[in-house]
Symmetry: C2
Subunit: 150 residues, 2 copies
DNA sequence: CTATAGCGGACCAATCCGGTCCGAATTAAC
DNA sequence: GTTAATTCGGACCGGATTGGTCCGCTATAG
């Protein structure tokens, strides 16, 4: 299973790219070109990021986007949340009201704890950190949960 | 965004239900009834769990399922992986070969670290833990990544 | 031999997602 | 003031994935 949607994945790429030199103002077309992503899709992503206040848009001729904050102050979690919406493991975590099983489902409270761990894992990494040349990151995949990679 | 698929969510419910009294052998129909889940769906889930070796099946009349191991020895991560497949954040994490961006994408190695954190959060919780009455689990949602719950 | 129950797979419908496009609004340049 | 460039905010569509169901087969108990 893939956790992040493609769009959110692209979002991180775009945001990271902008974080590379935060002072430059880039048009959607320029970012698309430099990241090798489809132009229309990049535009859509930037819209979402702007909506969440992560990037600032300048309209009109000679307009473009730039990061609204310093790269160290934007976490991957924020970027993902801006595109995919709020992060939650189960239906229960996000739409609590709709869970008719609330009464006889003992597992529900436990998801919150796991949920927090996941959210924190994403929140702990800033765009700035994504740019650094991978120093500490291990080269091999997790290898703990693996069963059948398909 | 919801991380777990509905099916995987159900899978945890089913597995947890079985962990409640591990010595009883339950038919798929009985589990469906007791968990209030659609019978056919439960059957499908049990098949997946059996395939992964998490539950043992007895065929024929008076057959049924039971946990293959002690509830303390089965993690939520295993249940999820049995149904949704391997866990990975991005396309890169699972299908590394298909990522044409490998060369000019600086973010890739960093995903592995986040990936591990997520996997570990799921692996750290056993079915047995899911059964305990929520003692330590905080009642409030994460509140860190939240932006707009839709 | 018959009823029960899991096994394996095919199958369908619906939802979600990636991606595209277009008109409106806004600003810079001429 | 007019025109061109560029973002904004939608709607929109096709395809892929997923949730859910069903059927025929096998195996076991009585």
């Amino acid at each position: 299973m893939i956790i992040l949607s493609k769009l959110a994945d692209y979002g991180v790429i775009v945001a990271t790219h902008m974080a590379a030199d935060p002072d430059r103002q880039l048009t959607a077309a320029a970012i698309a070109e430099e990241t090798r992503l489809p132009r229309a899709t990049v535009a859509k992503i930037l819209k979402a990021l702007a909506h969440a206040g992560l990037v600032a848009a300048t309209r009109g001729a000679a307009g473009g986007y730039r990061l609204a904050r310093r790269a160290t102050a934007i976490s991957v979690a924020e970027v993902v949340a801006a595109i995919d919406g709020d992060i939650g493991l189960t239906q229960c975590s996000v739409h609590v009201a709709e869970c008719a099983r609330t009464n006889y489902c003992p597992t529900r409270p436990h998801w919150a704890a796991i949920n927090r761990a996941v959210a924190q894992a994403l929140a702990a990494v800033s765009l700035d950190a994504m740019l650094t040349p991978a120093a500490f990151a291990p080269r091999r995949p997790p290898a703990s949960v693996h069963a059948a990679p398909t």
